[in-house]
């Protein structure tokens, strides 16, 4: 198979690797949206990779599978047909309208969702009637929530409340710019870090911003800072590991190894998750600079600059992703500012101005 662009997707140990019987996979397609969506529902857990080839998108699994074509082939401009190849691969034959593929997975039952992006010339005419659907999505992530209160101000301000407050203000401002804004949480509840990133990926967001307030034992610490991801793995290292891992899948000892001594799959999974954001580091850093500059101008508080750190919530985001530490609520002066609506608006407006540079469309 000639791999033009291997899509590092879904590597994992499948318990099914030893299964003698093919794993039933129900295949369904949906052409009602802008993209052509193919949903593979697996009867058991299995590890799959999505590989883009000339004229095809292939889903290669590490165990034998038995695809059930369901309602059959859609035959639209993006996806012409699909079918099995060998006993471990499903081939999606793409049409002229096909541009690229996005994927994500769902659990219970195990599903792999393959979104084939592109254009359907036949359906181009009614497009103006549905401009709402094409609005880009920005996902805002109010940090912490529920029992995870985050930082605490000396006068009682809680980070989790302030992050949600700022996110709601920013949402209103961004939606005026013609984007759809999704909040990872719009209530006071616990939300795992990986779920926050997954929401951004699931919504195919063009931007992911995690909003936080900082705290330090140094009461003098003050000011805002904007982060983008520091990746621990270089591309070269990751590729090497990916190669090793692919070989490991050829070995029947893979699952046994997983429970004994070395953790190759663990490391691989994380590095690939990390790599997702690697493709967007340049865009992320540029936007971080723009946001930081606006925050400095708007707040007049100390410029703490643009920084990089391996923030868990930014890993795995398949779009430019930033984490804003809007200020130190451990600092009494800054905490007091954040109790003022006008100041909160000012901070939200600063972020919105910077984001406008990427939402502005020709």
């Amino acid at each position: 198979m000639k791999t033009l662009r291997p899509l590092v997707f879904a590597f994992a140990i499948g318990t099914a690797a030893f299964a003698a019987d093919p794993i039933p996979v129900k295949v369904s397609t949906d052409t009602s949206g802008a993209s052509t969506r193919v949903v593979l529902t697996f009867a058991k857990k299995v590890a799959c990779a999505v590989v883009e080839d000339a004229g095809h998108v292939k889903i290669v699994c590490d165990a034998a599978i038995a695809p059930d074509p369901g309602s059959g082939t859609p035959d639209d401009a993006i996806l012409k047909s699909f079918g099995p190849e060998g006993d471990r691969t499903i081939v999606l034959s793409t049409g002229r309208g096909y541009r690229r593929v996005d994927t994500f997975e769902l659990k219970n039952p195990t599903r792999l969702v393959v979104d084939l992006q592109g254009t359907r010339t036949a359906k181009a005419a009614p497009a103006p009637a549905a401009p709402q659907k094409s609005l880009p999505v920005i996902v805002l992530d109010p940090g912490h929530g529920g029992v995870e209160v985050g930082a605490l101000g000396p006068a009682g301000l809680q980070e989790k409340d302030l992050t949600l407050d700022l996110a709601r203000r920013l949402k209103v401002l961004l939606e005026r710019q013609g984007v759809t804004v999704v909040l990872t949480r719009d209530e006071d509840r616990v939300l795992p870090l990986d779920d926050r990133t997954a929401i951004a990926n699931h919504n195919r967001a063009i931007l992911f911003i995690s909003i936080h307030l900082n705290a330090s034992k140094r009461k003098s610490a003050i000011g805002a800072e904007t982060y983008f991801l520091a990746t621990a793995a270089t591309d070269a290292e990751a590729r090497t590991l990916a190669g090793l891992e692919n070989k490991a899948y050829e070995s029947p000892d893979t699952a046994a190894a997983a429970s004994s001594t070395t953790p190759p799959d663990h490391g691989l999974e994380l590095i690939l998750w990390d790599l997702a954001q690697n493709s967007f580091l340049v865009e992320s850093s540029k936007l971080a600079e723009a946001i930081q500059a606006e925050l400095n101008t708007a707040t007049g508080v100390r410029d703490r600059g643009v920084r990089q750190a391996p923030f868990r919530v930014l890993m795995g985001a398949t779009m430019p992703a930033l984490l804003i530490e809007a200020g130190f609520i451990s600092n009494p002066e800054e905490e007091a500012r954040f109790k003022d609506d006008a100041y909160k608006d000012k901070v939200a407006e600063a972020i919105a101005r910077a984001v406008a540079s990427i939402t502005a469309r020709p």
């Binding site: 590092v8 879904a10 900082n214 610490a221 621990a232 490391g267 994380l270 750190a309 868990r312």
Partner: protein
Amino acid sequence: MTRRFFVPPAFLLVALLPACGGQNKTAPEPVPAATQPQGSASQSQDAAPLAKASVTIYFPSTAGDTLAAETREIVDTKRPADRGAQILAALLDGPRTEGALPAVPPGTTLRQLWVRDDGNAYADFSEELLGGATGGSADEILTVYAIVDSLTENVPAIRRVGILVGGRERATFGHLDLSRPLPPDLTLAATAKATE
């Protein structure tokens, strides 16, 4: 497009634990918690005074968002795990200059330190490490990198450091990804090194 798929996060630990018994060549014997080696017995048998080595220990700086360096003397043992344990003992002991703050909460101890042949070290701290946090990423970053940078700076065999608490892997303390060993962040170390 890069996604996670069914891998339990506790994987590393599960994989690591069997290696702790020294069955695995890549996992040298762990060094007992927070013990200053009484001498590198495994290295030198003679009664001559043990050589000392000067090392750099990083603490959160009082001046800002950087790490302040302090110099310490340790027994010049070459075994990475012995050397690393001495480094962490000095770190847990706390700073001695005005310009530095404790890197970890009071009472934090080192349970074990492993150094593997692949350059990864795993430092397992007591639960106190998680206590008393302000909840801000600023302090979390400085605590994590005081540990990581102190080890990687002084022990050539250590290139990345994984941090465990109470024998368990943590995906995060709240912000940073701790599910795998971290390389040092060289941008945090202040240029001027304070001395003892």
